[in-house]
Symmetry: C2
Subunit: 219 residues, 2 copies
């Protein structure tokens, strides 16, 4: 389906389109023009038309875009209808929250295994799935061929785990660890979610934004 090579900037906006179209659908909207959508999303109509046209003509001149159809198209581009197998590495606070909080099915994923190196957790259950020992990881990969791994582990263990998993055929990492997975393996897809980086950016922004204002002193 995809044409030529789409820029990363465009890809990064697709989920947001998908989200807004979902909201419009809920509200019962049948069609939307690039101008209307641009006002909602706070970007230019030009950009929307450019972005969507990377993948083909989803709109109709004089009419706009069919909300439901466009949403489905974007969903297909994002492969949200697949059923990739996913494993979670690390059953600490963050790992648990991700396992319970994320509705994987909606994003083309299926959680099939949870691992932790702390063996006192082995056998415990999260989201109805028992935690396995990290020792089982290699055998599990050989047997089940999980496509994606979610890393919710400390920085130190991450490098080795990544090596093991790539050896085991994992080709995508959703990485919450502080270790930056290098693109050493060109066939491997990586999304780094560095929560603390995000917090630091906010820390910067909140101090810089206020600088024109005479901040009322709280006393």
């Amino acid at each position: 389906m995809q044409e030529k090579n789409i820029s990363k900037s465009v890809i990064r906006r697709l989920p947001r389109y998908y989200r807004f179209l979902g909201e419009l659908l809920k509200e019962g909207a049948e069609k939307i023009s690039s101008r209307e959508l641009s006002e909602r999303m706070r970007l230019t109509a030009s950009q929307i038309r450019q972005d969507l046209n990377c993948f083909g003509g989803f709109g109709q001149q004089g009419y706009g875009y069919n909300v439901s159809e466009l949403r489905e198209q974007i969903g297909a581009i994002l492969h949200l209808d697949d059923a990739r197998t996913v494993i979670l590495i690390g059953a600490g606070n963050l790992g648990r929250a991700v396992a319970v909080h994320i509705d994987f099915e909606r994003y083309g994923c299926r959680l099939v295994g949870i691992f932790d190196r702390d063996d006192t957790l082995t056998g415990e259950s999260i989201a109805g799935m028992r935690i396995r020992s990290a020792d089982e990881l290699r055998a599990f990969c050989a047997a089940e061929h999980p496509a994606m791994a979610i890393l919710c582990i400390p920085r130190d263990g991450a490098e080795d785990v990544v090596k093991t998993l790539i050896g085991g055929g994992v080709r995508a990492f959703w990485n919450f660890s502080h270790y930056d997975i290098h693109a050493d393996y060109p066939e491997t897809a990586v999304e780094n979610v560095h929560l603390t980086d995000s917090l630091m950016i906010l820390s910067y922004l909140m101090e810089e934004n206020g600088e024109t204002e005479d901040d009322t002193v709280t006393n």
Copy 2:
């Protein structure tokens, strides 16, 4: 300290510099050149020098950069030495994980309150802090003037909560909800952390990366 207006792209890279410099420091490195750092971080030496020079000359010609000093400077730019008061809204899985998992002190923040609209949780404790009823929120803001709020709540409640909090003087949002906080309030800093957007991007990338490869069929 800051000069002119720094581009968003530069700001977004600062936490990563900070992180890598921390690692170098741990390894005992005293100095680093832009070239060495560029190899580690997988970006160009030019970009590093450009980025750092937005804030002044931290380096020394013929020598490089002092690791410890540079790290501290970036920390200062990011205001990591402040002690802003932070409240958490939403004590579900994600809220709990954030409260427990993030070491706020390291990022210039101090968690001072946790709120949830589910009153059956009121009184329960997370990270040694009791959960308060959402009804107390307005009064708490008036009394304590929290500077930042972390939103770990469903999309539906988010808009109202944001209004209340801005009314209560909150000027920064770390937003994990699916609601996009609009920049309606120019003085308000926002970092949206849309985890599912990130998962969708990964979903796209993993399918597009492999397209040159004859994927072995698992049977």
